[in-house]
Symmetry: none
Subunit: 533 residues, 2 copies
């Protein structure tokens, strides 16, 4: 079974989903590790951000086929004159998905051309990208609506794509209005009439995108297109985080390895953090509540046998059981993380119990270590006495002022470093930058390396709290030393305090020499967008 | 087709979903207006809140059948001795749903009794509530797993329920692990073997709860159980907000009237607010983005005919089309938005060109209006001279200090309101809250209505900028007057200035009387989660 991920293209059409070129590179690397077969990176003909993404990613030697998206050529024109097709073939992608019309109504109403010209557009465009050495996929837009309206024409469009040498013909339920039994019936007909590998691309407007993908597979489709967490236009695309385990763990198809599918929960949460989109706790398979059991009868039953109230073992997709009464879960994850760091942990040991309890308490307060490995590592190393004190904060003060002359941001910090009090003031572009500058100024004489550390990303989210006065914010921060990056977290009812916490963690992490080599190590200095806010 | 709503019972098992007895009464009234046939109100045997709900609701003369939930009697005992069954029959509900085991594994492992005793528990318990004048429904827990493990026993349990006079036999996919084709096959067998009305109750652990409900209906089930917005344990129950329109608008079944199904969007948003659960923008049929169009090509097509990119008319379920203004879209989006606001725009007109250029320039700077309708409307109305000046900001100053004693946030604002200078200072939980409080204090004497405006959500993200010194943040803010909500945006290299911009837009929007009625109009003040950060 072939998995085609379009998180970076169709996923970014989702309301509120916006990814930088840098975010896209990081996500592509995670998708590649997960083992998806195609990664559609964007539309190089539509915007310069996507061109930038393709330029960066093509040096990374993905195992997946890097794919660029575009449309069939403009009507009454030629492929050679089409600027979008030119950008697409110059993107460096090894495969191209071209979307074309198969619904006669759309040819007349949206495209405003003849049925014949549309067929020529499909054939010529696919042949054009093939002739330039790319694998060609045809996205048959509105195929199911088109088939219901005019089956002969819809099939004729597919036949043109096949004749032009398309490696895959992907049937799209673009408006998301088709039901599973219709999908199954129509895909069966296509499979028997069109001799080519068939894919399926569904949307979730009826809350049926996952079911429709499975129905198409049952009828003979062998490629499923979708996005992580189902991001996408309107109600989203088919959610690969559900499609993949349904196909592999329930229906017996093989798409990725057993080890790779265990990454699913991590990938889902990682992508949601980069997209700054809340991952619903109740999301199937990967949500925090997907295997959570409230007190009472269910809990006593799962204690006897987890199969009583769990449809699969949560570990198969990298998730875990949570028992909401006694937070027994999670502990094994924390222990395995600590072992990964080479710390000598034993669950029976008093010190281990203390740090586990501390992490649970922090998670309860709203900390999330999924996107903040550096903060978690600090917490563990601190607990096991594996760090030394490098400085302590006595106080800080921050002022932002707006006058007719403009904005001024100023910060004062008082630290104790090696028995000595250091008291500095600095300006910045904004409050976090001012605090960062003041901190840097205080530490520079002791740790000249601090000059290499810079903030590269900053995200703030209000946490769900029913009690109004207790509303909290979580700040996620990413830093770099121009070779590697690391992530930290802070939580407070005050956004400045939360930022300060994440900042202190970031600097301690770097000064303690904990930075790890990562996949971005090759990105030259000038490519990284720095943040001074 | 019969719709059985269990939002007030199974829905409250969802993580983070918690409803007071008062909330439940309000929701029951809305469900009754929507036209569902059964309203399961809770488990009067398990908690006093549910007893209180039944006491209040039974005076309201619902058209729907008010239903109480409970289990079959305890093993090796009698119904007369069962305190839960006693509470249930005294609840005042006209119908009772009794859940019982049909999976032999559960009888042995969870219940730890014999297969024969379990059959007796089913028969006697249903007969008991029937004899006390209630309609009896049997929830066949884990029926699909049970059928797969031991079909004879699973069917024998259903036959017992039928023989005891159950009005409905409801097949439950309790663990949510069954696939639609299995559901359809097993329901078909039950329909042919058990001569009784059959219902279906599914969970969403494979993201298939809606599809599984439809598959059961296709196989002959005539009652669907579910919850508003799919709330429920783990990944939730079948979402009635999708099941109902799929059945009625797509499959031709009649469940409620055409007028009633138009209430669906309003009910979904009302319940989400009372449950203090964020309604996902991408929720099918009822979400704010369910009929939102972003891409330039899509928008120009829906202008020609909305059927090109909409699977149903949004008005059929009480939702509406939205045209999102985004970097990917063009001027046609902006024009249609202005027309929606009743502004006289003509693309050839000089004023129109100026405002379009201004919006494009702002988007280039990083503003994003798709999540900030109120800021966009202000911009358009300001450009067309459709607003008056209500105040101008001369300066503001904000301080955050951390000492050993804790955090202090303080703000000073200097405004000019109607020729008069106003100068105020206030504290807050954090910098934005302090600024908000100072602003509020300054404006209160002129606009007492400002007390009704509150911040409900706040998001910050860093924009992709290659030039380090130009890095910017975007703040998205959501506000409420306890009747309606609106969204604003601010962009700056300084997070405080960006927050200030969004705050000023929010307050101007409300004070200029631009707030639109939306589906939340009835929610009382104390029900909303506020944010003071």
């Amino acid at each position: 079974m072939t998995i085609f991920d379009t998180t970076l293209r169709d996923g970014t059409q989702g309301e509120g989903i916006s990814l930088t070129a840098e975010d896209k590179v990081k996500i592509a690397l995670r998708l590649d590790a997960l083992g998806v077969h195609y990664i559609e990176g964007g539309n190089p003909g539509s915007n310069s951000k996507d061109i930038e993404f393709f330029r960066r990613i093509r040096e990374m030697n993905l195992k997946a086929k890097l794919t660029a998206f575009g449309s069939t050529r403009r009507k009454n024109s030629s492929c050679e004159q089409d600027i979008n097709l030119k950008h697409l073939t110059e993107s460096g992608a090894v495969a191209a998905t071209l979307v074309g019309k198969t619904w006669d109504f759309h040819v007349h109403t949206a495209l405003q051309t003849t049925l014949e010209e549309n067929l020529a557009m499909i054939y010529e465009s696919l042949a054009y990208v093939r002739n330039r050495g790319m694998e060609a996929l045809f996205d048959a837009e509105h195929f199911f609506d088109g088939y219901k309206a005019n089956p002969e024409y819809a099939l004729a469009a597919l036949a043109k794509a096949r004749d032009a040498g398309a490696a895959w013909i992907v049937l799209c339920d673009t408006n998301g209005g088709t039901l599973p039994n219709e999908i199954q019936e129509i895909v069966s007909k296509v499979v028997s009439e069109i001799n080519a590998p068939i894919g399926i691309h569904t949307h979730n407007d009826c809350e049926l995108a996952v079911a429709n993908s499975l129905a198409a597979v049952a009828a003979g489709a062998r490629q499923v297109q979708g996005t992580i967490n189902g991001y996408g236009e309107r109600c989203g695309n088919a959610n690969l985080c559900s499609v993949l385990p349904n196909l592999q763990l329930k229906m017996g198809y093989r798409a990725v390895s057993d080890e790779q599918i265990k990454m699913l929960t991590g990938v889902a949460r990682y992508v949601s953090e980069l997209a700054n989109a809340h991952l619903p706790v109740n999301q199937p398979y990967v949500g925090n509540a997907a295997f959570a059991h409230k007190g009472g009868i269910h809990v006593s039953a799962i204690m006897k046998d987890s199969k009583t109230y769990e449809h699969i073992q949560p570990e198969l997709v990298g998730n875990k059981q949570r028992v909401l009464v006694s937070e027994l879960a999670g502990q094994s994850n924390i222990l395995s993380k600590a072992q990964e760091l080479g710390l000598n942990v034993n669950p029976e040991h008093a010190k281990s119990r203390i740090v586990i309890d501390r992490i649970k308490e922090l998670e309860h307060q709203g900390y999330q270590f999924e996107g903040a490995d550096a903060s978690l590592e600090l917490l563990l190393r601190d607990a096991f006495g594996d760090t030394q004190d490098i400085f302590t904060v006595e106080s800080f003060k921050m002022m932002v002022e707006k006058t007719a002359a403009g904005m001024v941001s100023e910060a004062i910090v008082k630290l104790r470093v090696g028995g000595q009090q250091v008291y500095t003031v600095a300006e910045g572009n904004g409050p976090v930058n001012a605090l960062d500058n003041a901190l840097r100024k205080a530490l520079m004489q002791f740790y000249p390396d601090i000059n290499r550390i810079h903030l590269t990303d900053y995200k703030v989210r209000v946490l769900d709290e029913k009690d109004a006065t207790a509303a909290k914010v979580r700040v996620l921060m990413e830093s770099t030393d121009f070779k590697d990056t690391w992530n930290t977290v802070g939580v407070s009812s005050n956004v400045i305090e939360a930022s300060w916490e994440a900042l202190i963690d970031s600097i301690r992490y770097a000064l303690l020499g904990m930075v790890k080599k990562d996949a971005l190590a090759d990105i030259p200095r000038e490519e990284l967008g720095l943040v001074n806010l």
